[in-house]
């Protein structure tokens, strides 16, 4: 009796029908210096169908692409700060089997300062302290109050590595990458972000008519989001940071930014035009958590709008935004090499 039961269970477990029709590609993303690369975006494109399957690498650098129909796959990977990786040989996937494909993603592009511990850079994002608990603070007129010092979300978090670009923009992006990103304006201390939040530290100062973000690690150090009901000016001269107005949809603050010039690079190297419109939806879930959903809409450069989600956590009460004077002692510029 008991042995019959055991056999039945054994048959049941091994005969899970859906699993064995698919295969898996798994591996580890690592850089030339040997360390693991977390947050890399890995893509496997089926040669037969053209369908693209995606996964991200975790803190240990490992990734898994599962539920893959059997066939042949081209594997590529991108990670912030690295050149795009394209695996030379096709990865075959068979039903019910796991294929290993490690990704040696190459040298970190960014210019290392002597003595800088690159592993600690990753720790900045993955080892943030647990934020305090509590309800959403409110302003005297009942709106959510976003004020506080926030640890920003990971770059491009949750939405893949960037927008789907029109052919001209895709070609330009590739050219920028081939040149080792040497012409990135932020390397010359020009502004970097088109959104009011950065992935490092941000301080939000909210008053009735104005929301100000004070941003670590960008020029300018602050952004203004007007809450006083003004619209955008008619004769807006394009600028690096554009013009931002905020309106409330219930407890969500919807920030509309237009008037951007075309000089910033999105994500790592994606171009955009002056038509770019950035919509940022802010929600404070509780005392310690901010949800940030950003949509980038640029019909001049993108095939369709690109939405990315991120979450910020409240920093510890002693955290302060340090002064960042980019062009003091900017020693990197003369080292930028590329075609």
């Amino acid at each position: 009796m008991r042995s019959l039961l055991v056999i039945c269970l054994f048959l049941f477990v091994t005969a899970a029908p859906a699993q064995s029709d698919f295969g898996t590609i798994t591996g580890s993303v690592s850089e030339t210096a040997g360390g693991p690369v977390a947050g890399a975006s890995i893509q496997a494109r089926s040669v037969e169908t053209g369908v693209v399957y995606k996964a991200n690498s975790v803190q240990s650098g490992s990734y898994t692409l599962s539920q893959l129909p059997p066939g042949r796959y081209e594997v590529t990977a991108t990670a912030l700060g690295f050149k795009r990786y394209e695996r030379k040989d096709i990865v075959p996937v068979q039903a019910g089997q796991t294929q290993r494909a490690d990704i040696p993603i190459g040298d970190f592009i960014s210019l290392d300062t002597l003595g800088e511990d690159r592993a600690s850079f990753g720790k900045l994002f993955f080892n943030r302290p647990k934020p305090p608990e509590g309800p959403v603070p409110r302003t005297p007129d009942g709106k959510p109050d976003f004020s506080g010092v926030w640890n920003g979300s990971l770059p491009g978090g949750g939405g893949g590595s960037g927008p789907e670009l029109l052919p001209w923009a895709e070609a330009l992006e590739k050219e920028r990458a081939d040149h080792n990103f040497k012409d990135n304006p932020s390397a010359r201390c020009l502004p970097f972000a088109v959104t009011p939040f950065n992935f490092f530290l941000n301080r939000v100062v909210q008053s009735r008519d104005l929301l100000v973000t004070i941003i670590e690690y960008d020029i300018p150090g602050y952004r203004q989001i007007y809450l006083d009901g003004r619209g955008h000016p008619k004769d807006l001269i394009p600028s690096w940071t554009g013009h931002s107005v905020g309106t409330w949809e219930g407890d969500t603050l919807v920030i509309d930014t237009i008037g951007l010039n075309d000089k910033t690079w999105l994500g790592e190297a994606a171009p955009h035009t002056e038509k770019l419109r950035v919509t940022t939806r802010l929600r404070r879930l509780d005392l310690g958590h901010l949800e940030i959903e950003t949509t980038f809409d640029d019909p001049g450069a993108f095939k369709k709008p690109w939405t990315t989600k991120g979450a910020a956590t409240l920093a510890s009460s002693t955290e302060e935004i340090p002064e960042f004077i980019c062009n003091e002692n900017n020693q990197d510029v003369e080292h930028l090499i590329g075609k």
Partner: protein, 252 residues
């Protein structure tokens, strides 16, 4: 480069609410200064030091050029080495003025003619500056600068109220900025005290005391009078973009 004329058409959408008006609809700048819910004066608003020099005159505005313009030279108690450095900077036509290299203005930022915006919240006053798009945080929640904090261009500011005066004390400056274009020096020992008052709706008064025993034999004080700026909002001013002046700066 040193003056900023606002581009007025840019701001056709800005209307200022809560501005007391005269019978003819113009802002009443002599109206009483507003107060916040805590009874303290509300210093919030956009302010600037209007440049009332002749149009197109190629001279920097008065206090930007010389923060001690209202004093006699002997009232600026320079240490001998500092007096010599001040003389040298003048002889070199202020060639090494840090702002020419797009470095922050340090203590003298309030004397620039470009407007700035003061935001007053419980525990924190923030000032956003148009020139160099830099900002200051003035902590009014009782905290003090950490002893192992780095020296910075803009220093570390804490403030408290004495009656209707906001007293702001700033320490932790590095020694890389000048007090004005003509080159009054300061060192990292500088403690700058600003006493902010708002005598009426349209006027601010900031009394600066420079206490820097390494550069001056005793503290000295100057007062400036910023005015309310109602003609628009802060413009983006990215100094390092298309910077063309540097190679033309002459000096011995």
């Amino acid at each position: 480069m040193l003056s900023a004329a606002p581009a007025l058409a840019q701001w056709d959408n800005v209307t200022h609410k809560n501005v007391p008006r005269k019978a003819d609809g113009k802002p009443n700048l002599s109206a009483p200064a507003p107060r916040g819910p805590d009874g303290k004066p509300d210093l919030a608003g956009m302010w600037w030091m209007p440049n009332r020099g002749p149009a197109n005159a190629d001279i920097p505005p008065k206090y930007l050029n010389n923060i001690a313009a209202d004093l006699n030279p002997e009232e600026v108690p320079l240490q001998p080495w500092a007096a010599e450095l001040f003389r040298k900077r003048g002889a070199e036509f202020s060639r090494d003025f840090p702002y020419t290299r797009c470095l922050p203005s340090g203590p003298m930022i309030s004397s620039f003619p470009a407007p700035w915006k003061l935001i007053q919240t419980p525990g924190l006053v923030v000032i956003l500056y148009e020139n160099s798009t830099i900002y200051r945080q003035i902590f009014t929640d009782g905290r003090v600068r950490s002893k192992d904090a780095d020296a910075t261009f803009m220093g570390y500011s804490v403030g408290h109220w004495e009656g209707d005066t906001l007293v702001v004390e700033t320490t932790g400056y590095n020694d890389k900025t000048w007090l004005d274009f003509s080159g009054h020096p300061h060192t990292d020992a500088l403690k700058m005290t600003e006493r902010f008052r708002r005598p009426d709706f349209g006027h601010l008064e900031i009394q600066f005391t420079f206490d820097d025993p390494k550069a001056y034999t005793k503290p000295w004080t100057v007062t400036i009078h910023p005015e309310l700026f109602l003609d628009g909002d802060l413009l983006e001013s990215i100094c390092t973009e298309n910077e063309k002046d540097l190679h033309r700066v002459v000096g011995k």
